[in-house]
Subunit: 358 residues, 2 copies
């Protein structure tokens, strides 16, 4: 078996030791004679897997005690609805900072339930609007932003200060990629399928005082308070994804935690941006300060070479580089589980391709 | 490794050949160098896995061409909301036939969006109300029922005739357990985690003419039309569960399809009911004609023996027999993947236990 370096934007590369453990205990978890996939979610074995995953996630992110951790389904797209349904709390509007395609979708879904005030919007989506230009409403129910825009490769380097209005963030593609001060947020959410596990699981970390005012029109499984009161087991959760994510959390701990992971991610991104910036064939359109560590987009000077570039990359064991259909070009996703060796292999391929197409 | 006979009600036993295949290709699906968990849902490999699963499901159930098959998230509990959100279509009410705890929950969730008319309700939940007692409203948006109540072990032997009003059914715990005439339904849905795969995936089979009138308050991921128009990939689906379910569908085909599976399930259930009925220590409270093939509940004549019974069963490699907390007693779930050998082992254990506690 030859493993490739998979640059897919999500679902995405997972740590090999995690996959090996999943494989090794697939038919028999710790001698119990059944797969984790076959365990009742009410069984003490699965309850221990679930509780340990939450505990490890809390430790990794140093989540304060007054925050609930929820394990939900439906991805960030479900949260685009769940956030206004739960957090509008009788207020007329919420503020949205939009610097990419996912922010657009989040704001649009909010309009089903209340007004989405676009407090700032980048145009084009190649930078983050300067903080002093944001038209924030002090009466907004919350301020929503997207720390990392997966499609355009634009990332916030720091958490913005929005005063006392609860800050809400879609961390899907940069979850656990570096340390985070959770206490600055009212709520963060993230689909698992980028940096934390298989698709089908969504993490929600929410400050307790924001719970309990969900709109009655919300499906019960969207009511954070109900989900929290039932320890994310109001109904059968996405058990297997929960288990695999728990193994990813253990792996992150063994690798040194988020401070070390953040250093690695910064270094990996720098390797690739250096190659792009120093090679005339490649171009990244994002403002330098706002470049993503996770999703690095680039175009070739001649788009007619795209197909050949992608084909050669796939043959070299570097699949998943095709950019999102909306923006075209290339995208290399360098999530936590992408080793530095993968980035080096990509840079070598890109340099060789540039030399042979100079 | 010693596999047990797992009688859990869900998540539940999966076919060993399926688990073995999942294990064998866990790090490398067909030489591509990555796990199915790591594949982009837009990748051609995953698209082929997804399409093949749908095709196999259509073949197993002989789903007519004018029905859409959707792969959603959130389990039956999400569908309790999605059904009225999509199918009320401007009508004031829907009819609910209630013969167990899940039917109660389905009807209750409907009241968020319209009136749930309880057209029939069993009391207690140990039988199905006689068809001639149902007070059906010819103007109802749909008639909802639960073909198999997982907690009480009550199952419809045949599909009820409700005239021209669309029939909607929560098949979660009896999905693919025997042949089904899908054309009798407006919509059927089922969580995967009983008879078809890991938790985190929900199947919806819906007649096309019922699509397109979703209430605007519905989260977009609940809108069947939008999900159908996007081939269940509006956002990242529960990819790995989709893949495993596809392997279960292949296994069902190899085993002879639903007619053969139905014969086996009937035989397995008869073995256990015979033991219960012929042993004074055990009692099943369900009307004979309405007894479930999938979830067989029984009590011990002396509840003080429950703990010893369960402990002995677990030691004998027969876990998962504890009844739902609402009804107590025991429950043996005999899903498709439970081999007859498992039922025989259970019957032997029960007879021996009865002899030593006579």
């Amino acid at each position: 078996m030859t493993r490739v370096f998979n640059f897919s934007a999500g679902p995405a590369v997972l740590p090999v030791p995690v996959l090996e453990q999943v494989r090794d205990e697939l038919l028999d978890w710790r001698g119990g004679g059944m797969s984790v996939m076959e365990m009742s979610h009410r069984d003490k074995d699965f309850m221990s897997i679930a509780a340990e995953a939450e505990q490890d996630l809390r430790a990794l992110l140093a989540i304060p005690a007054n925050y609930k951790v929820l394990f939900m389904q439906g991805g960030a797209t479900a949260q685009f609805a769940a956030v206004p349904l739960n957090l509008l709390r009788g207020k007329a509007s919420a503020d949205y900072i939009v610097n990419g395609a996912w922010g657009v979708k989040a704001a649009k879904e909010c309009t089903k339930y209340g007004q989405a005030n676009i407090a700032a919007q980048a145009s084009p989506f190649n930078h983050i609007p300067a903080r002093e230009t944001w038209r924030l409403d002090p009466n907004a129910a919350y301020v929503h932003y997207t720390p990392n825009e997966t499609i355009e490769g634009v990332e916030f380097g720091a958490v913005p200060d929005v005063g006392s209005v609860p800050l809400v963030a879609d961390f899907s593609s940069t979850f656990l990629s570096r340390p985070l001060d959770v206490s600055k947020f009212g709520l963060i959410y993230a689909g698992a399928q980028k940096n934390a596990g298989p698709a089908g699981l969504t993490f929600v970390v929410v400050r307790e005082d924001l719970l309990g005012q969900c709109l009655p029109a919300a499906p019960t499984i969207f009511d954070y308070k109900v989900v929290a009161d039932n320890d994310s087991m109001l109904n059968t959760p996405s058990c297997f994804a929960w288990y695999v994510s728990g193994l990813v959390f253990k792996w992150l701990q063994r690798e040194g935690g988020l401070a070390e992971i953040g250093r690695r991610n910064e270094r990996k991104a720098a390797l690739l941006y250096d190659c792009i910036d120093s090679t005339p064939l490649y171009h990244n359109p994002v403002a330098t300060a706002d470049r993503s560590w996770m999703n690095i987009v680039f175009t070739l000077a001649d788009a007619a070479l795209d197909a050949e570039f992608l084909e050669g990359a796939a043959k070299a064991g570097l699949p998943g580089l095709k950019g999102h259909r909306v923006v075209g070009g290339m995208r290399a996703s360098l999530y936590n589980a992408m080793p530095e060796a993968g980035v080096i292999a990509l840079v070598e391929y890109m340099k060789a391709f540039a030399r042979s197409h100079g």
